[in-house]
Symmetry: C2
Subunit: 383 residues, 2 copies
């Protein structure tokens, strides 16, 4: 039987056909007015998507490389920083800080819960030497969204700089970088931006540049100063080392799609898909892992009693063509995750819920066939 391939994961996400087609065009040299014009337009469009008038840099790297760039450009060994984590990716901030001898105060909530802005405020008050607060917009491992607006207001009143991992959140979840006072925001390519992985994108506020001036962590490849110098050297943007030319050209097309749909409409679509997925899972009697501040990028669901999650995941992927995600870190085997991120529409969610129903049914899970899709439809149809 034919089942089309669908990536319903929190990244990589399906790439729109017109974006795929860009990669099939002959490569161009990067030190040309042609490419630099594209790069300049990509940066301008990215700033609109980031909602920032600050600076924006692009590195050939996984998102983790962008996180490391923030640590080494903002910190010195021995500096105090605060990590506000609600999962596996939040914890990565502390791992990176440790690798550079940066003293991380690690505030981690129970997985499935959001971080509490009031707790961040308390900890900043208790240790005024905290130089940077690191947190996560959409915690991919648990399906939680952090209240960046509230955290931004708190951090802005202190000398500390706020750094947000928005790798799986940007382009999916409202994030108003400047208005919400997120000094540094890191995004990835293969999530809301709908291109193949390999780019780390970073916005930097004036306050962050000030902090960066005194940062003594060693760096070369990820140096913001070098990248910024190339970006601003002449009228057209440039990079210090060879950029990922084909990915940037693909990004130009995906940004055209995002701007044509409209950023607000993109956010609304993600919110609708998330709500529909949540409603469908609950209608099937499944329990949401993150009932509070659920992320619009990914829905995490407890594996019900008697269901073999590994088998469920493989059946849906290998038989029905839809790739979901399982649990990672301390919730491995306990949850599964449905991504509704990037190039995904209402019918992708309906199809995914139907496939989950079928695979659950095959494991003799007690449910009413069609109840999940009906619940999804009610949300999607607005009734």
């Amino acid at each position: 039987m034919l089942y089309k391939k669908r990536l319903m994961t929190p990244g990589p996400t399906d790439v729109p056909p017109s974006v795929l087609a860009e990669a099939a065009k002959p490569i161009m040299h990067h030190r040309t007015p042609q490419f630099r014009k594209i790069l300049t337009e990509v940066v301008a469009s990215l700033k609109r998507v980031f909602q920032t008038e600050g600076d924006l840099l692009i590195y050939p790297a996984a998102g983790t490389g962008g996180m490391e760039a923030a640590v080494v450009n903002l910190c010195s060994p021995g500096d105090h920083v605060l990590v506000a984590s609600c999962g596996n990716f939040g914890n990565r901030w502390t791992e990176i800080a440790k690798a550079y001898g940066v003293q991380s105060e690690h505030y981690e909530v129970e997985w499935g819960q959001p971080v509490d802005p009031a707790e961040i405020q308390k900890r900043l008050a208790a240790d005024p030497s905290i130089k940077v607060v690191f947190t996560t917009l959409s915690e991919t491992s648990t399906g939680i969204e952090s209240d960046i607006r509230a955290i931004g207001e708190i951090v802005a009143k202190t000398p500390a700089v706020l750094v947000v991992d928005a790798i799986s959140g940007l382009g999916a979840i409202p994030l108003k970088t400047d208005a919400w006072k997120a000094d540094v925001v890191i995004a990835g390519a293969q999530k809301g931006l709908m291109i193949p992985p390999g780019l780390a994108l970073i916005s930097i506020s004036a306050k962050a540049w000030e902090t960066a001036k005194n940062a003594k962590c060693p760096k070369y490849y990820f140096s913001w100063e070098k990248a910024q110098k190339a970006m601003k050297a002449e009228a057209l943007a440039d990079t210090p080392y060879t950029p990922s030319i084909s990915l940037i050209i693909q990004l130009a097309e995906s940004l055209r799609l995002i701007e044509a749909e409209g950023l607000e409409a993109v956010w609304e679509r993600h919110a609708r898909l998330a709500k529909a997925t949540q409603a469908a899972m609950q209608a099937l009697g499944l329990k949401l892992f993150a009932p509070k501040q659920a992320s619009n990028a990914v829905t995490a669901v407890w594996v019900p009693e008697g269901v073999d999650v590994s088998k469920l995941f493989k059946t849906i992927r290998d038989v029905y063509g839809i790739t979901l995600a399982t649990g990672q870190g301390k919730v491995k085997g306990k949850i599964f995750r449905i991504g509704h991120l990037g190039y995904a529409d209402d019918w992708d969610v309906v199809a995914t819920v139907a496939a989950v129903e079928r695979a659950l049914l095959e494991q003799k899970y007690a449910m009413t066939v069609g109840s999940g899709v009906a619940a999804a439809e009610k949300v999607l149809f607005g009734i």
Copy 2:
């Protein structure tokens, strides 16, 4: 008038159509047996191209990221290392070392000359504390090839580890990593490997792993240990962070092309194109910048008296469709460079020489029209 676009630069190089087509296929998830099988095969094929049975890691990064990975995984702050440089990219080794507080003894020859293995031997004898020797296989800025075999023999007799930047050399110039005792070799994607930029590839010998054990430079994203753990964790290769999926899938196809042509044949083709280009330039009365140990990847040529090199370069690129490279660093404005690297054949060289002839003629440079292409043909035809 129609002129097709040709990239005759030392990278990025033209991408073969079948490799471009791979990028237009739908993206697949990386944590799947399907992708991990491809990655496993890519690594096995790369080892044949590197001529190594050592370990091989792949990072989403520019080549410079791969160079930084070698420094931070092999060195501790304060360590003594020797950099043997014959140009701009060789000098980068010292810049990276400095950024991490590593004491670099900087041996730099006059640009246009190759490094002298005997000098490396002398300096290693004078300072037995030297832990790593960094050098360059094909120095892109000057068109010089280093004698890695001779350097490898010298370094192998000491406790030092030999690190070779083969970013523009691998797949173009003979390099027998294990036989020549090159402990760490770094390659890039957009050169001899004929894919778009965005990957750094690194081979690591057992001796290098021993040195890496005691290396105290801070690192996270570029940690070899973490990458190796993922690579060897199970039967199929994996990566610690999201890999550049589309580039790796393109690499699988380009490696199929390289292995079908045969590595020896690929090396011979590059040697033939280099000799033809050199002969053509000399027949036109132009002077080679690197007459000794010229690189098979790129030919550097002195700009003759009375020729405006910027105009020459722009005419050939913007009117005749062929992108060459100008000089960088201290030879900016003094040389121009012709890449004959990766996906390039005999007729590309003939076409390029003809375009150079035409652009020179337009600048009233005194020459016999056709003498360059005739000289190239003689080499290409083996007569």
